[in-house]
């Protein structure tokens, strides 16, 4: 027979809550809803999350070390693999950093092409987000619609630079090829095609009653926490702070383009999704302005069919050797502030190249907001951060 103290002692006399032991569960890295190979170690009490600790490094290829072993022009090919959903922006930030170190002036037509391509890439990336986020929350249909639209954008990219995912279209001092004839009309046709499609997507997902039930009030990030955690992109604009590098620190020709920064002060998963879907419309507006500008610029003179045409490429030595200096350059990628801190020591290879990944920083807020939610919500929150593991793990 159990002796009394042991029995009573173990239970604790008086008012005692019913003990349910917390269960440690690991979600990922092969979990279908984590994008790529993210593993989150969860302490779960029944259905509720007590603690969430992301375990990174499954896709760590140490681009920063590789950057130090490549000459400047060679480095561009690496950048496509950082954030493989919007590879164009990676190219751009790397080339921008080197141009700033070299003090190089990029021809105007190249600047406008860069803005046009980057904004199209933003639309494509947001479409991927809407599709996969729908899958996380359980809607199978939007995924197919989003990827059908994205295919049309990728076809246009294929026409201009021959690739659909790892483009390396940008060069130090400009872009690798001028715009083929008739390409701008196709882009304009695409813009007209996209507007009704985006409204259709909104009805299907963003304003869907059940989607609202699954995302409103989930993963709420107050503005101070957003600032303190250094969030950027739709994550910080979803909490009401209009921090958009294209307006705050305009680079390239963004100061000549008017568009408005989309913010929503809900701070929860739904407002971030809404911000992304509205941003797509702003990007279409920018693309239209770029098309007008590019139409007035000189036509491409294909004197050298294979080399870059003179309008879009500045004079750059094959192995540029910038003077010893250091610079931090950041652009507004679809996920947020994508920055590169580059230190040159006069040789042909960068001395140090630090990549500031937006998804990496945005994910760091997860341990702070996850506790208190349910397991099903965690999937919605992680999906909402729109992480791409290539850039989180670098």
């Amino acid at each position: 027979m159990m002796d009394r103290e042991k029995l009573v002692g173990s239970v604790g006399v008086g008012e005692q809550t019913i003990r349910t032991e917390t269960m440690e569960v690991s979600m990922g890295p092969q979990h279908p809803s984590t994008h790529g190979v993210l593993r989150v170690v969860l302490k779960v009490d029944g259905e509720w999350i007590v603690e969430a600790d992301p375990d990174l490094g499954y896709l760590h290829r140490s681009f920063e070390k590789l950057g130090e072993l490549r000459t400047y022009p060679q480095g561009i090919f690496l950048t496509d693999r950082w954030d493989y959903v919007s590879a164009m922006n990676n190219n751009w930030v790397y080339c921008l950093a080197v141009e700033k170190l070299l003090g190089l002036q990029v021809p105007e037509k190249a600047e406008w092409i860069r803005v046009l391509i980057s904004e199209m890439q933003r639309i494509a990336s947001h479409l991927v987000f809407m599709g996969t986020y729908g899958l996380d929350v359980g809607a199978l249909t939007p995924f197919f619609y989003c990827f059908r639209e994205r295919e049309k954008i990728l076809d246009l990219f294929e026409e201009i630079c021959g690739a659909r995912l790892t483009y390396n279209f940008y060069r130090i001092g400009g872009v690798s090829r001028d715009v083929p004839r008739g390409w701008l009309d196709k882009v304009e046709a695409l813009c007209d095609y996209l507007i009704p499609r985006l409204d259709e997507l909104d009805d299907l997902l963003t304003n869907n009653k059940v989607f609202l039930a699954r995302t409103v009030g989930i993963g709420v990030i107050p503005p101070e926490m957003a600032i303190s955690y250094g969030l950027s992109g739709p994550m910080i604009r979803g909490s009401g702070i209009p921090y958009d590098l294209r307006k705050v620190a305009p680079y390239s020709v963004y100061d000549q383009i008017e568009f408005d920064v989309v913010t929503h002060d809900g701070g929860d998963c739904w407002s971030r999704t809404w911000v992304r879907s509205q941003e797509m419309r702003q990007s279409i507006r920018i693309v239209r302005q770029c098309i007008e500008k590019l139409r007035q610029m000189p036509e491409p003179t294909f004197d050298d069919p294979y080399g870059p045409s003179t309008h879009v490429m500045a004079k750059v030595p094959p192995k540029p050797k910038p003077k010893p200096n250091d610079v931090y350059v950041a652009i507004e990628s679809p996920r947020g502030e994508l920055g590169v801190y580059m230190v040159s020591d006069g040789s042909e290879k960068p001395y140090r190249m630090k990549i500031r990944g937006p998804a990496f920083v945005n994910l760091s807020v997860l341990p702070a907001i996850a506790p208190g939610h349910k397991v099903a919500d965690l999937v919605a929150i992680v999906g909402n951060v729109d992480i791409v593991m290539g850039e989180v793990d670098r």
């Binding site: 359980g138 809607a139 197919f144």
Partner: protein, 395 residues
């Protein structure tokens, strides 16, 4: 040509002509009925899965199966063969007996439900056994699936499948309550639990069917809608397909099953979908009756109308499954207990009050049914296993 005559013809074809009075003959005839129903179920599920893939594909702007056979018709056959050929893995820590029993316990109710469902006008014998406790039978059989699902979850000895099993068990139970209430509405209107009586109690014109009746307007339509929602929840369809919520629990209770057993779960799920739509047509959409009296609906026409309505409902379910997204488990429970249950109560009390004011349906039922609905010929004349209850004036 009633069902039992078909089965007797098959028996004669098989070379023995059973004198209809021995119990043994009775059992054999029942066996043949069972095989006929099983054949229908398999065929129905095969067609349903193919149609399901094609339509969801169409909804999602893609083509669906196209390569197996002309326009992908043989796709489901190919899936079935693939599943049969697949290796049947049993986890080492699994509770072997329960693990093998669970798929059976989930499939049997989906199959037994068809005994009571008339496929057409009972006069033409298109029903296996038109029990006079029809609706109650449907309810109790469908409540047995919960045990199968819970056993499947428990027996595969893995944390995730247990969670999935308990979740879907809880969901099924909490939706059985509003379902029972909503079942009561057509029974109140018809005054009997027998499915064929319920269908006969519904009027000739389609606006006299239980779903769109104008004399009990708000309640019956509400009951029909609640029934559809509960039906979706009972068969684990979107938006309530929590158990197979890929993103959270990675395929719920049948995650450890593979090969033939997984095919049985799949068969049961789609079998249930057809069964639920068949029940909905009988209770709310006037069973085998044509929307207008002048359209022919006796004999094999009734079969035609019945399948037409069932396919409409199945298409509706597939459409919902293609568009809506999944609801969280606590929202499912909340909807079940806090919304559907009160609605069910309101419907039953509403119809109950209205029925008690108007002349009681039993008299109406009596005038309409001149002849007592005789059960299939074979049972009538001879000595069957239920001889006792027949000699006591009970059909």
């Amino acid at each position: 040509m009633t069902l039992t005559e078909i089965s007797r013809a098959i028996a004669r074809f098989l070379g023995f002509d059973p004198p209809t009075d021995q119990a043994a003959a009775q059992v054999i005839l029942a066996l043949i009925d069972a095989l006929l129903i099983f054949g229908f179920l398999m065929l129905g599920v095969l067609v349903l899965i193919y149609v399901f893939r094609k339509i969801v594909g169409f909804i999602q702007a893609r083509l669906g199966p196209r390569y197996t056979g002309p326009r992908g018709i043989l796709q489901t056959l190919a899936d079935a063969l693939k599943l049969l050929r697949k290796e049947d893995i049993i986890p080492r820590a699994a509770d072997r007996i329960a693990f093998n029993l669970a798929p059976l316990m989930v499939f049997l109710p989906a199959y037994l439900v068809y005994i009571v469902i008339p496929f057409g006008d009972p006069e033409t014998g298109l029903v296996v056994r038109d029990l006079n406790v029809g609706v109650l039978y449907l309810l109790s059989i469908s409540s047995v699936t919960v045990i199968g699902i819970v056993t499947a979850g428990w027996a595969s000895a893995n944390k995730w499948s247990l969670l999935g099993g308990m979740r879907s068990g809880a969901q099924l139970i909490s939706y059985e309550v509003p379902m029972t209430l909503v079942f009561a509405v057509p029974v109140l209107l018809a005054g009997s639990l027998r499915l064929s009586d319920i269908v006969r109690a519904q009027g000739e014109f389609f606006w006299q069917w239980n779903a769109f009746r104008l004399d009990f307007f708000p309640f019956t339509l509400l009951a029909f809608i609640t029934f559809l929602i509960c039906a979706l929840a009972e068969t684990n369809q979107t938006p309530f397909d929590l158990p197979e919520a890929e993103s959270e629990l990675v395929a719920g209770f049948h995650v450890e099953y593979s090969g033939f057993k997984f095919a049985i779960f799949f068969l049961a799920e789609f079998g249930n979908t057809i069964a639920i739509s068949a029940i909905a047509t009988h209770l709310f959409l006037g069973g085998w009756k044509a929307p207008f009296p002048f359209l022919p609906d006796s004999g094999f026409w009734s079969l035609g109308w019945f399948f037409f309505k069932v396919s409409l409902l199945v298409l509706l379910i597939i459409w919902i499954r293609g568009t809506l997204l999944r609801v969280r488990i606590d929202q499912v429970m909340e909807l079940g207990w806090k919304v559907l249950l009160p609605i069910g109560l309101i419907c039953v009390t509403g119809v109950g009050l209205l029925v008690s004011i108007r002349p009681s349906p039993t008299e109406q039922a009596k005038q309409k049914v001149a002849v007592v609905s005789e059960c299939p010929v074979s049972l009538q004349k001879d000595d069957g296993p239920f001889r006792w209850c027949r000699t006591h004036g009970r059909t």
